[in-house]
Amino acid sequence: MRSEFSRGSESVDNDWPTLLCDNRRSGGQAPQAWRAPQKSLWQASVEGGVRSAPVLRDGILYVTSLAGYLTAINARTGKVQWRFNAKSPIHSTPSLSLEQVFFTSDDGKLHAIEASSGAKKWDVQAGGEAWASPIVSNSTIFFGDASGHLYAVNSGNGAMQWKRDLGGKIYSSVCVSGERVFVGCGSGDVYCMDSRSGKILWKTSTGSGIDSSPAVMNGALFVGSLDFFFYAIDTESGAIHWKFEAELGISASPAVSGDAVVFGCKAGILRALNTQTGKLMWAQRLGQAITAPAAISGSTVWLQSGLTYALNLSDGSIVWRARLGYSLQSVPVVTESAVYLTSMEGDVYALG
């Protein structure tokens, strides 16, 4: 499965503007062939530990930290461009849209920051602690908080478009497909809402709370529950296509590529299931509880679960691993020229 890809003479990093790459939370799918990282291109450090994933656009990496900073780092050199202090811990992964960076903070604020300078544009106060990552679609930002509300906010000026009480804490990040937004809830329910009105189109219940952020592919919504089951749900009706039982709860978000949906469970097992049937394609025991989403790049699955792993998408075999700090929730950003990683200690790595 190993094959080299040729690197161009200039660094062309693919944008990765939101958690798990895109609004469907696919977790990657860039068509790169596998190439093992050979060396550290640079290593930087941000203030405070990092629980979120980095995002990337136009050669700038954006990283949030528990010390309350959003830090912009030159992806080629590792040099810090600017920092913004939100004055509250940040668990959320930022999202990028037009010239702005959006993220939530533990004090319940949604922040809009100018991407080029780090200047504050506006902020909006939500009702509770906000860890879930915002998502931007059609000039609207969607995010949930621990008060159980889902919010739709105008990305230009921060005006509230609608908010909906879902009755359970929201630590799951929204995904968007067309005019529909999807989110999981601490009550155990998965919701589908109309993105323009916030009207609930359907609700499907699982047996426990939901931490996992759903992903959408080909009319199916994929999400894990703390009831130990992984679900494939019809995006139109909310009917359950199939469900797969793991050994312990599932808080990690899935990544989808082709016929495979990949997710980890708290028993430390990473699995790939067939998206149509739910049939097991492979399972790989990694030992430590998996709470981080996987990212898929071509034929490779990337995961940070204690160690950082690269696995073969076709059979789950481990093709590369490294001890690069410690991470439980971050997701690597995989581009043609580099893989970017963060650690709980606040380190940021570029591997090439």
Binding site: G48, G49, R51, L66, E129, W131, A146, S147, G148, G167, G168, K169, Y171, G186, S208, G209, I210, D211, L226, D227, F228, E247, L248, G249, S251, K266, A267, G268, G287, Q288, A289, T291, Y326, L328, Q329, M344, E345, G346
Partner: protein
């Protein structure tokens, strides 16, 4: 702002006095010539009167144990079964006619209540979110607003692995005192235990500010686990080492000063006064490799719950249970002092129940008893075992 509290320093000669009988008979210490426990200095507030609910609490020496084979099925804890078990046990403990009356003996509507969980073995063996939810419901039934109930532990990242944020009811705050990066911000600089065990550079352990300043009552929710250094981790260790920082320094292979440090920490005010009830989660009993082992072969789905106000009595019963299970599995006692059982290989320790990293120190329980925190004499413990639905 000037802190107007006054603080006093006391020196616990207990480091010697509490443990002399045990240490004098321990061949390992004679063979390995470890230094004696150094004096442990405690700096704590003065002038605060000890609460009538202070450990050993309203029911010294009483331990209520309840088991139900349906409490944990297919590795899932049943919310419904747990509810019945906890209510039954609390009524037995307090003599109250209903569960609301039982909870009202420990908390009042004006209280700020902390639920001290043990997430360190998450996800395999940690305080069950189902039990935490029932405790939240019980405290709330006594008139405490949900916003004044905090689920907390020292380590935020371990709480995250357990998904407690998502699983507790709306309104309840989940607080991690510190992140993986050592951060003194969550600790009270005025309340600490000080000792130099192994020549460490930082000799102080500070009390978490949430305990010293924010909370008025604490419900302790330990798990039932073996502990490689302390012997078992139960009520006392979950409270002491879950309240003070920089505690790993008390044990360096193969030696452990968890005895007497655990008990001394639990005796420090205001922790002693605020910890009013203990609900021990024995849904999954970890009988080897604690506190972090995730190896399923050492996790026994015991389906047990214990409640009481006396942490020493509860840990004494827990120790008996861990010992009984280890004996049944034909592995060495937690009291073993055989140097051949020691290993420096963590992987071996996590796989082989005959191996350990330290000479375990379960005597910390009796030492805590000598500090007045409760009863460790089995003959004096009022241990009541309830059956399912009884």
């Amino acid at each position: 702002m000037i802190d107007r509290r006054q603080f006093v320093k006391r020196t616990c000669l207990g480091g010697f006095a509490l443990c002399l009988d045990h240490w004098a008979t321990s061949p390992a210490y004679g063979q390995d010539l470890i230094p004696p426990v150094p004096p442990i200095h405690v700096t704590e507030p003065v002038g605060a009167s000890r609460s009538r609910l202070a450990m050993p609490g309203l029911f010294p020496g009483r331990v209520i144990e309840i088991a139900d084979s349906q409490a944990i099925v297919n590795n899932r804890v049943s919310q419904t079964v747990i509810r019945g078990m906890l209510e039954h046990a609390l009524r037995e403990l307090t003599g109250a006619k209903d569960v609301r009356e039982a909870w009202s003996k420990f908390v009042e509507p004006k209280d700020i209540v902390g639920i001290k969980i043990n997430p360190s073995g998450a996800p395999a063996c940690c305080s069950s979110p189902e039990i935490v939810r029932e405790i939240v419901a019980g405290v709330h039934s006594a008139g405490v607003p949900l916003q004044n109930i905090h689920v907390y532990d020292r380590y935020a990242y371990e709480i995250d692995v357990g998904s407690y944020q998502t699983l507790v009811p709306l309104g309840v705050r989940v607080v991690g005192v510190e992140d993986r990066k050592l951060d003194p911000a969550g600790y009270d600089a005025n309340i600490y235990c000080e000792a130099n065990f192994f020549g460490e550079w930082e000799t102080r352990s500070y009390m978490a500010s949430i305990v010293s300043s924010n909370l008025t009552k604490i419900i302790n929710v330990p798990t039932m686990k073996d502990h490689s250094a302390a012997g078992v981790t139960g009520c006392l260790k979950n409270l002491g080492y879950g309240t003070f920082n920089n505690v790993d320094r008390s044990h360096r292979r193969p030696f452990s000063f968890t005895d007497p440090l655990i008990g001394i920490m639990c005796s420090v005010e205001p922790l002693r006064s605020k910890a009013v009830l203990h609900v021990m989660d024995g849904m999954r009993m970890l009988w080897h490799g604690g506190p972090l082992n995730q190896n399923p072969k050492f996790i026994f789905p015991a389906g047990v719950l214990m409640v009481g106000t006396d942490p020493v009595a509860m840990d004494t019963i827990e120790l008996e249970k861990i010992e009984a299970k280890r004996s049944k599995e034909s592995v060495p006692s937690v009291w073993s002092r055989d140097p051949k059982s020691l290993t420096d290989n963590g992987d071996e320790f996590y796989e082989d129940a005959t191996k350990n990293l330290f000479y375990r120190q379960p005597h910390h329980i009796a030492a805590a008893g000598k500090l007045g925190l409760g009863t460790s004499d089995l003959k004096m413990i009022d241990h009541r075992v309830l059956g399912a639905g009884g």
